[in-house]
Amino acid sequence: MTGGADELAGVAAAVSGLVEQVFVTVAGVRGAVLRSVERDGFRAGRWVLPDGVQELLREPGQLAVGLGLVVAPRPEQGLRQRLEWWQVDPGNGELHTLEPDLRPTSLGYYDYTTTEWFDVPRRTGRRHAFGPHVDVHGTGRYVLTFTEPVAAGSGFVGVAGADVPVRRFETHLLRALGALPGPFLLLNEEDRVVLSTAPRFLVGSLLPPGTRLPEAGTGIPGAPWRLVPVRDEHRLVG
């Protein structure tokens, strides 16, 4: 295990770097929203997110495939649930707005106000990294969702956010690391595997209760995640 701690610190820095990169995009969305609200206020029937923000999705090296503002509904002001969300079409790469089903009477109702990526920033006033999760009724993809609360004038108006497909996050990180260090797990705060280089721990699975890990792990600055080295038996070789 010599050099293990250094190696892990290197991985943690790489993870943190990717997370910060996504939050730069989220901050871009948030800034655009704030400028727009300052200029034109916040009205029920009109998008706050200015046109052009979606171009962030075309920036070279962009991890996110979706971004936007998710509005906090205020029924007393006639402000209903609303998503101002752009996403890259996985088929042809074109940018489209997401138009989820927001009617509670539908099988496909996208009840985003109960999701953690919306609720945690609302409650804590702080940014949040949620997932991996199946974004059921929304984009329908397996993603990590990075969100930040947006407060303007009368208070919390919604969250600015970006979606990163789990596969893309993994590909970028492993490419950035080059030669793999010893097997490790990236775990979120509910002990769900975000990324794993040990085949027996599957992405998306929860760490089985009672699993003995060699150490508590290294926290990832800027995300509720930690990195833990694991021992793994090789099955294919040796």
Partner: protein
């Protein structure tokens, strides 16, 4: 109009690969979308040419289907400015449509549908027992509570559908989630058993509750076995209902003859 892009909606307007008469398949798809609330009362349908290309049917076939839907009262067409075709939610018509579908399917078709649903849902339940977070388990419980108190047939159908879709999402599987959506568009074309025997809703609620308990206990084998048994029971309900209907129809014929 802007088409909703939720994944359930994608399933509604996905290409038909139904071997049956195409226009009837369109009628059934639209019917189950209304039954599941995916198309709401008064909602405008995409234009004829858009619908035809999404469903990959000819415009002739699509017009036949729309004419049939109009005759049934599930679609209303208005001419002129702001015109177009609009969905109409009619529980009585949907029930008739479901009965007709049940009559034309064989017991083997119902068994096949049940077998696939059992495989998908049981796999999802097994995985959910080791992958669902505390928050997700709480959400599953909430869905079961809402099913128990859902008033209308469409409300019950929809909430039951959400149970299976959420279960697949708890399994962390996009593919199982998509499979459940597709299956529910098919199941939504069949009669809703509690509409014929209200006590069955309690059986469903108890069945789902037992599965959440198993998931909560982190017992994959039990979650799977309970789900399999429950879906199989529901397949038997559908087959029984079909045979009962055949019996009634035969009795009607005998009465008319005598």
């Amino acid at each position: 109009m802007q088409l909703l892009s939720g994944d359930a909606r994608r399933a509604v307007f996905a290409p038909l690969d139904d071997g049956a008469l195409r226009s009837e398949a369109v009628v059934r798809r639209v019917g189950s979308a209304i039954a599941l609330g995916l198309l709401s009362d008064g909602e405008q349908l995409p234009s004829e040419s858009d619908l035809a290309s999404m469903l990959r049917v000819s415009t002739v076939t699509l017009r036949e289907a729309l004419a049939e839907l109009r005759k049934l009262g599930l679609v209303e067409t208005r001419r002129g400015r702001g015109g177009g075709s609009f969905a109409r939610s009619r529980e009585d018509v949907l029930a008739e449509l479901a009965d007709a579908r049940l009559a034309e399917l064989g017991s083997t078709d119902l068994r096949e549908l049940g077998d696939v649903h059992s495989a998908v849902a049981a796999a999802a339940a097994r995985l959910a027992a080791s992958r669902a977070s505390r928050t997700e388990i709480a959400r599953l419980r909430d869905i079961v509570d809402r099913l128990a108190s859902a008033g209308s047939v469409t409300g019950q159908r929809r909430t039951d559908g959400r149970w299976y879709i959420e279960l697949a999402a708890c399994a962390q599987s996009v593919r199982l989630t998509m499979q459940e959506m597709d299956l529910h568009l098919e199941l939504g074309q069949l009669p809703w058993p509690p509409a014929h025997a209200p006590g069955l809703l309690d059986v469903m609620v108890a069945g789902h509750r037992a599965v959440v308990d198993a998931i909560d206990d982190r017992d994959p084998a039990r979650a799977r076995a309970l789900t399999e048994a429950h879906v199989e029971t529901r397949t038997l309900w559908a087959i029984e209902l079909r045979l009962q209907r055949l019996g009634l129809a035969a009795a009607d014929v005998r009465r008319e003859v005598s």
